[in-house]
């Protein structure tokens, strides 16, 4: 067993080049520790990312909001930039887990874990975010979210690679997130949804809508996107949206036993989200 805690990208590079198939990258640990326990893994090595300074902080750039992989849910919620410009991400971070989890769980970890019900993933899909991946060779590549997450708990990360930053394109936007879990708080989504609208003169120029927990990874809700396109918020008819939402769920999980519940729950979810739009 090896434990290294690199302080910067250079040291991270060295650590990543030593990584073998039993080396885990750990940030908040809120998912990893549970996985390791379930898998009964003992003789493994860890690279603790939490000290790597280049992986921290939220940067405001002209075309991007650039979020370090180590930024925690609590930090996302505390950022005025995220709160104002990335409403969906703010809401997802705010409602994730418990206070204690939010203090440790990181955005990079949330997507690297690639849980099918991840609240952050569905939001980043809707935003069309890019994931910056840093390698043992010191190279950086940028991968769109839908290529980054390949399936249930599967990503395109190779050995010797780490998520370094998440880039969200800036635009005149209005975004929204919602989820339905087993209870009001501290709950894993049974179904979640993120909407990102590019706005122009009060009209939706482009709608990007994803549903989560209705497949191995977030599913693009094309019927809904088409419906929203070109409309103003005032023109949206709730019943139409609910009907399309139901169709989306039936399309996404035509055989799962959970569809009976989710095709109704999605209607409640969409009602709440539409109601919260400006």
């Amino acid at each position: 067993m090896m434990f290294t805690a690199p302080a910067d990208e250079k040291e991270l590079q060295a650590a990543l080049s030593q990584a073998d198939e039993r080396t885990y990258l750990i940030a908040g640990g809120t998912d990893l520790l549970i996985h390791l326990q379930n898998r009964k893994e003992t003789d493994c090595s860890f690279i603790d990312l939490t000290k790597v300074k280049e992986l921290q902080g939220i940067r405001e750039e002209k075309d991007w909001i650039d979020i370090g992989a180590l930024v925690t849910m609590t930090e996302l919620c505390a950022s005025p930039l995220v709160k104002e410009e990335l409403r969906a991400l703010y809401l997802a971070a705010y409602h994730l887990g418990s206070e204690q989890i939010r203090n440790r769980a990181t955005l990079g970890g949330a997507i690297a874990n690639a849980s099918q019900s991840s609240d952050c993933s569905v939001v980043l899909f809707a935003y069309g975010a890019l994931v910056e991946i840093f390698s043992a060779q010191g190279e950086r590549r940028k991968v769109p979210m839908d290529q980054f997450i390949k399936g249930r708990e599967k990503t395109c990360l190779d050995r010797g690679e780490a998520v370094s930053r998440i880039l969200i394109p800036r635009q005149e936007r209005s975004s929204m997130f919602g989820k339905v879990g087993a209870r009001k708080a501290v709950t894993i989504a049974k179904i979640n949804c993120a909407m990102d609208f590019r706005m122009e003169e009060g009209l939706i120029q482009k709608a990007s809508i994803y549903l989560g927990a209705v497949g191995v990874k977030p599913v693009e809700a094309r019927l809904l996107e088409n419906y929203f396109q070109g409309k103003s918020f005032a023109e949206i008819a709730l019943q139409d949206v609910q009907e399309l939402g139901k169709e989306e769920v039936e399309k996404a999980i035509p055989t799962r036993p959970s569809r009976f519940y989710k095709r109704v729950a999605v209607q409640g979810l969409l009602e709440d989200m539409i109601g919260a739009l400006p």
Binding site: K40, V180, K184, A185, F260, V264
Partner: protein, 750 residues
């Protein structure tokens, strides 16, 4: 009504600050020189023969031994037995040869550290040869696959009274419901744990955060063939139990391991192990048929219930009997019949769980009562008022008299405070496409100890020290509900001494007097207060007698005043401490008494809950907006603690009503053995609990007290279910009412 000096007043718990500050030491904080840690290997298959491959695990540095069935005394026991007079079916072993449920004990890792235990546990390989599995009551009843022996039927009971045929002939309607209640887990904050060591004199000492030290001593004596005198079981600090630690478990594992290794051993569990590898509330499936007359009179009731007993016999007899008992003490019904059957299944054994059978029983019967009220078109409260028991009614199946039953008063007071009539008539006017609103009510009864069923007594030694403090040696187990604080107030009242001068002990088989049954059956406040009152009275007499004999003062002139004795018509004052010294010096006798106490009654405790809900018809989520709990408490000893019990009890049972359920697949795997998947109501979902205490002062009870801790965990469940059915116009009877079940019911309704 008698005016009390201490009882009925609000006192803060003595240990609340140290608990809040995290200073309280629990067993997991305790260490011993050379102590071994122990972790059980629990079966991952529900029914299987197995081979353990421990080769790699034994190579982990620090691993001491891995014990299996072959290394352990082969003595069967039943963990529910609490004294030798109960001879239940004995089929449990410290470690098992064959696995009978997911979570069954198949090995024990002993190591120098927890880390080594955990690492070794990861490296133990288990080869299973699967056997057919009985994973549900339906399969169990078919007897096609047998858990053991010739039938899965473990225990059967028929009990009833009255003229059933006559009642049915007179009835206008027979209202029938079928329903089920889930297996739930107690979820004490502290997972199961125990520690044992061999002392300098070769005696086995066991530390138990449990409810029954004398039972643990008895079980270990049988298993180890060791005399009682050489086994000492000490109740230590506990982080909650709710019945989950009422059957000795790790106490026995630790005791045996310490005895075999002659080293201190601490056996611990994590959350998952505690959830699958100990005990759960028995799941039930029930059919209730109630015969009613149009005018609202209940004529007859038939209840037929199957109990999911789990893999070992444990509490099969207790759960059926405890469930049955509560059917006969709530409504005046001329004829009733109960048929109960407990079955073995390849699941975690059933065990005691807060309110023992009451939550399962009232879960269905109280929904059925509402159903019957609907059928005859009567307000469910009025219907109940017409049929509830009256004070001093007899128990129709020969149990103890109901005593000063104040359930009707509870219902009336609750109706008024809740604005029942108005809400019941109008709340649904708020309904819209998304949300439905409703109100519900439910009543419930519970007992006060074992009188009428099992030996019921306790002994107490009460000592007044020369420094003016009092020690009350009594075998009680503080479970976190404030038992010690309550008893201190009763002792303060009995002795006329400030509570802070009184120490109440916790159970220790070596030091505290024998007690008949441990901290269970809602017996502690009722029985122990009686014992303390009797001891206090005798001790006060001794105080007067001392002054009479030594100081030649007529007893009639003496009276107590807060730890002193005063003499009428004189300014002379003696402190209790001075009197203790006088007695020892002049009479060669300490100022103490040792008494035996038996209660001679077992009045019923009652509770009525009112709930208001808002149901999301799209997500199926239920918000309990209001909850009112009205309790026939007899006399609150410390209202602050009583309210705490009622709030906690509501949270406990609302979980069973709305979200808590151990879900099993057809192979007997538990699908939600973690808190991320097993949902209790957390703080955001928990409504404030309004409380009304009805102090009926039962004359047969010491200070008039009645039970509350278990009683509080019953009525809120069916009250919420009745409210949901009121809101939606459904007839849901399968607990818990999860969002999925609610949506399914709404879809079916169309």
């Amino acid at each position: 009504m008698k005016q009390f000096k201490y009882i009925g007043k609000r006192f803060q718990r003595e240990d609340s600050l140290e608990r809040a500050e995290g200073k309280t030491k629990f067993l997991a904080d305790c260490k011993r020189l050379n102590m071994l840690y122990g972790k059980l290997i629990l079966s991952e298959h529900a029914h299987a023969d197995f081979q353990l491959d421990t080769e790699e695990a034994l190579k982990v540095p620090g691993v001491y031994k891995i014990l299996t069935y072959e290394d352990i005394p082969h003595v069967a026991y039943n963990s529910m037995e609490w004294f030798t007079g109960i001879q239940a079916q004995r089929d449990e072993y410290i470690l098992n040869e064959r696995a009978r449920f997911v979570g069954d004990r198949i090995g024990l890792i002993l190591a120098e550290s927890k880390e080594a235990c955990e690492k070794a546990w990861c490296k133990v390989k288990v080869q299973y040869q699967d056997l057919p599995v009985v994973a549900d009551l339906q399969t169990a009843q078919e007897d096609r696959i047998l858990v053991r022996g010739k039938t899965n039927l473990a225990y059967e009971k028929n009990i009833g009274y009255g003229d059933l045929a006559n009642a049915e002939a007179e009835a206008d309607f027979i209202v029938e419901d079928r329903g089920s209640t889930p297996r739930t887990h107690h979820l004490a904050i502290e997972p199961h744990i125990a520690m044992a060591e061999v002392d300098d004199f070769g005696n086995l000492v066991v530390y138990s955060p449990g409810q029954v030290v004398f039972a643990a001593q008895m079980q270990l004596s049988r298993i180890l063939h060791l005399s009682y005198a050489r086994i000492r079981v000490i109740k230590c600090n506990m982080g909650g139990s709710f019945g989950g630690k009422q059957q000795p478990l790790l106490e026995l594992t630790a005791g045996v391991a310490a005895w075999l290794t002659q080293r201190p051993v601490q056996i611990y569990m994590n959350r998952r192990e505690s959830m699958i590898g100990t005990f759960t509330r028995n799941g039930t499936e029930a059919r209730v048929a109630t015969a009613v007359r149009k005018d609202g009179k209940i004529l007859e009731r038939k209840v037929d219930t199957c109990f999911d007993g789990g893999a070992y016999d444990t509490n099969n007899t207790s759960i059926v009997n405890a469930y049955a008992k509560k059917l006969f003490r709530l409504y005046r019904i001329p004829a009733q019949e109960f048929h109960g059957r407990a079955y073995y299944t390849d699941k975690t054994p059933g065990g005691a769980c807060r309110a023992y059978g009451g939550p399962q029983n009232h879960a269905i019967t109280e929904v059925n009562i509402d159903h019957a009220a609907r059928v005859i078109g009567m307000d469910p409260c009025e219907f109940r008022l017409k049929n509830l028991v009256e004070p001093y009614d007899a128990d129709p199946v020969g149990g103890p008299n109901l005593g000063k039953a104040a359930v009707k008063e509870c219902l009336r007071k609750g109706m008024e405070a809740f604005h029942w009539k108005e809400k019941y008539a109008h709340i649904r006017e708020q309904n819209n496409d998304r949300y439905a609103y409703g109100v519900g009510v439910a009543c419930a009864d519970h007992g006060n100890g074992y009188f009428g069923a099992f030996p019921e007594f306790t002994n107490v030694e009460m000592i007044l020290h020369p420094d003016g403090t009092a020690l009350v040696k009594i075998a009680v187990h503080e479970q976190g509900c404030g038992t010690l604080d309550s008893l201190r107030l009763t002792a303060a009242e009995a002795l006329d001494l400030a509570p802070e001068k009184i120490t109440i002990t916790e159970a220790d088989t070596l030091l505290t007097p024998y007690d008949s049954a441990g901290t269970q059956a809602s017996r502690v406040t009722f029985v122990s207060s009686g014992a303390i009152l009797q001891a206090g009275n005798q001790l006060r007499e001794k105080i007067f007698q001392t002054l009479h004999e030594v100081e030649k003062i007529e007893p009639d002139l003496l009276y107590t005043d807060n730890g002193t004795v005063k003499v009428k018509g004189s300014d002379k004052t003696y402190t209790y401490g001075e009197i203790a010294t006088l007695r020892e010096k002049k009479m060669f006798d300490p100022l103490s008494v040792y008494i035996h106490y038996e209660p001679h009654s077992n009045p019923a405790a009652y509770a009525v809950s009112f709930a208001q809900v808002k149901v999301d018809k799209k997500t199926g989520l239920v918000e309990v907006q209001k909850l009112l709990a009205v309790h026939d408490i007899g006399q609150a000893v410390n209202p602050t603690l009583v309210e705490g019990q009622i709030q906690g009890g509501a949270q406990f049972i609302l979980g069973m009503a709305l979200s808590e359920e151990l879900v099993y697949d057809s192979k007997g795997n538990v699908k939600n053995s973690s808190l991320s998947k097993y949902h209790t109501l957390n703080v955001q979902d928990m409504p404030p609990v309004d409380i009304i205490l009805v102090e009926s002062h039962d004359e047969s009870s010491p200070f008039g007290v009645k039970s509350v801790g278990e009683m509080s965990a019953v009525a809120p469940g069916p009250a919420v279910v009745n409210a949901i059915n009121h809101a939606l116009g459904t007839e849901l009877t399968d607990y818990p009412l999860t969002p999925e079940r609610i949506i399914e019911a709404l879809e079916q309704k169309g």
